[in-house]
Amino acid sequence: MSAQDEIEQQTISNTPQANAEPIRILDENGNVLPNAEVPDLSDDELLSMYEDIKLAREFDQRAISLQRQGRIATYAPMTGQEGSQVATSYALDDQDWLFPTYREHAAKYVHGVDLASILKPLRGLREGYAVPDDVNVMPEYIPIATQVPQAMGMAWGFKLQGRTDEAVLCHLGDGATSEGDFHEGLNFAGVFDVPAVFVCNNNQWAISVPRERQTASETIAQKARSYGLEGIRVDGLDPLAVYKVTRDAINKAKDPAGDELRPTFIESIQYRYGAHTTADDPSVYREENEAEEWREMDPIDRLGNYLRGEGILDDELEATIDDRIEAHIDEALGEAENAETEPEKMFEHVYDEMPARLQEQMDELNALREKYGDEEFSEVLE
């Protein structure tokens, strides 16, 4: 079955808002589909989106190889999913907040987190999660689905304070829809009608568990109806379509028409081309050729073809872009590899003021470090 069929197959029969057919703008060759409308983005914006998707893919490959060399810890790749990540973040205004999981590196980057900050936690440094004040991105969420009620709460806070120009975008995976926190958060979102957009990156797998063993629901999007929310399905390998539905949802969140509810639940249909993380071997649980079929719908090819067709992109520009990406990543990596931290930091950020007990523990550790030297602490325990 082709990926196109695969995407369309998960349709539902009778829930109108959970969109039987996923929304799509570009066909597999990057041609605009009949009746589809390209979102109102300038050539520069389109190009920049394209560059960011390419950067994301290059970053992913570099990160995987860094992990293999032992220079960073376990990494969750995003190849195949960058198009959707980049597009969702393009749909945000600067003042909007992003709740990423461990996989949304590109979404974070586009919303203002520099690449070095993304790499630092992978080198064991919490510093990477302390983004500048004007970058509205939460530290990535690892306990699955826990971000959902929190994102709902932040959106609720904006609403209660009349901050009508601020909205929240919350990412989650297909597996995450099985967790209780997903349910509680979306139910609250419906009841309190908050300016939040929830994007389920349905990459067909939760580690080794395929989408159809995760839930007997016909589609993921239709789960929205349980909470009175609008559920939308979109081709997650079509950056223009993802941009459009997300931007519409953000607009609706801030300024709903009539009796529209503010929150939206988007199922962005994707595929995880690679491993769950660098510690995972997908060949154990899935057919290698599955990914190949999805690659035919690849976002870079589709958007690239579209841009070339429109005369916005050519070989020369492509080469410039690639060089720029290379340099950018090199620089970020250099910065991340030179970054350092101090053992004191783990005591400093537990409470606003360090309690006496903790201070004592820090002093004890420091005395030991002084006496024996830091080498004594860097040995692996095993």
Binding site: R126, E127, Y129, A130, V131, M138, P139, P143, T146, V148, P149, Q150, A151, M152, G153, M154, A155, W156, G157, F158, L160, Q161, R163, V168, G180, D181, H183, E184, G185, N187, F188, V191, K345, M346, E348, H349, V350, Y351, D352, P355, A356, R357, L358
Partner: protein, 338 residues
């Protein structure tokens, strides 16, 4: 509630019960600070199942006193998000036994957002919950598992034992920039009244309180158990001439190690009284803290007078489960006579 001006302090005071003082603390702080909001199950129109939020819904409206759906992770999770927007949310958990569905949000997130973000973000939230046994409540309504939260760095844990402290500690908790688990001893919600200033005031989250001075033994306790501990102390003074010091910890995390150890240095003997099961209870931490800090003063084993290592029984047996004055007296005597 009748108001009066306290001649000693010249502040206006009310005679309030502990639960009224909680309500008053919420009221006072909400009046002064618009960012404070209360949310939870039945806290709004109904005023809370113990009336701790009585009248607040009318006074501050449904946007600041919010009835939520029945979902504790939703309540605490959304409160974390609210806190990120500059608000000071006070989620109520209807009973401590119903905090567990929110356990992940509390320990994995509220406690750690500051450290996870390397100091960039914080969660100034107060999770309130009635706790403890003795009120003939059904199953799961009598939990006293403060030790769970004390073991999680990043949380503060508070439990008042008097109406005065209830308001003052709650005020301090609301103003604290870190997440506080505020455990209200429901057994003594209405047990007695105290002079409680109508104005706002803080009881700092750092100091244990000596409720009764004594020289023979230090008894450490908190929350509802402060009452039987004081009764036992009085009985022993009268009947046996034993002079008991009663230390009410008040803030359970971070512990006031200094007061704990100083009292022990004076008496050389100690008992700890709590409702929770003995094994792994906070009594173990207090005992360990004492012997780390003052072993050379120790004249007898430190006695733990606690709930048993069994789930809280239904109400016909709960008086056997909870440390009664008689058990406390016996434990103290055993230690004093060692």
């Amino acid at each position: 509630m009748s108001s009066a001006t306290n001649p000693e302090t010249e502040t206006k005071t009310d005679r309030l019960t502990l639960v009224e003082a909680v309500r008053d603390g919420l009221y006072t702080e909400m009046s002064q600070d618009d960012s404070v909001i209360v949310l939870g199950e039945d806290v709004g129109k109904n005023g809370g199942v113990f009336r701790a939020t009585d009248g607040l819904h009318e006074e501050f409206g449904e946007n600041r006193v919010v009835d939520t759906p029945l979902a504790e992770a939703g309540i605490v999770g959304s409160a974390i998000g609210l806190a990120m927007t500059g608000m000071k949310p006070i989620p109520e958990m209807q009973f401590m036994g119903f905090m567990y569905p929110a356990f992940d949000q509390i320990v994995s997130h509220a406690a750690r957002l500051r450290s996870r973000s390397h100091g960039q973000y914080s969660v100034p939230m107060v999770v309130r919950a009635p706790y403890g046994g003795g009120i003939r409540a059904p199953e799961h309504h009598s939990e006293s598992k403060e030790a769970f939260f004390v073991h999680e760095p990043g949380l503060k844990v508070v439990s008042p034992s008097t109406p005065y402290d209830a308001k003052g500690l709650l005020t301090a908790s609301i103003r604290d920039p870190d997440p506080v688990i505020f455990l209200e001893p429901k057994l003594i919600y209405r047990a007695f009244r105290d002079d409680v200033p109508t104005e706002s005031y803080e009881v700092p989250l750092s100091d244990a309180a000596i409720r009764r001075e004594g020289s023979d033994i230090s008894v450490y306790t908190w929350g509802a158990m402060t009452q039987p501990a004081l009764i036992a102390a009085d009985n022993l003074a009268e009947e046996k001439g034993v002079d008991v010091e009663v230390v009410d910890l008040r803030t359970l995390s971070p512990l006031d190690t200094e007061t704990i150890v100083d009292s022990f240095k004076k008496t050389g003997r100690a008992a700890i009284v709590h409702e929770a099961p003995k094994t792994g209870g906070l009594g173990a931490e207090v005992a360990s803290t004492i012997q780390e800090g003052a072993l050379l003063h120790q004249e007898a084993p430190i006695k733990r007078i606690t709930g048993f290592d069994a789930p809280m029984p239904l109400h016909s047996l709960e008086d056997y489960y909870l440390p009664q004055a008689v058990r406390i007296q016996e434990g103290i005597l055993e230690t004093v006579d060692f």
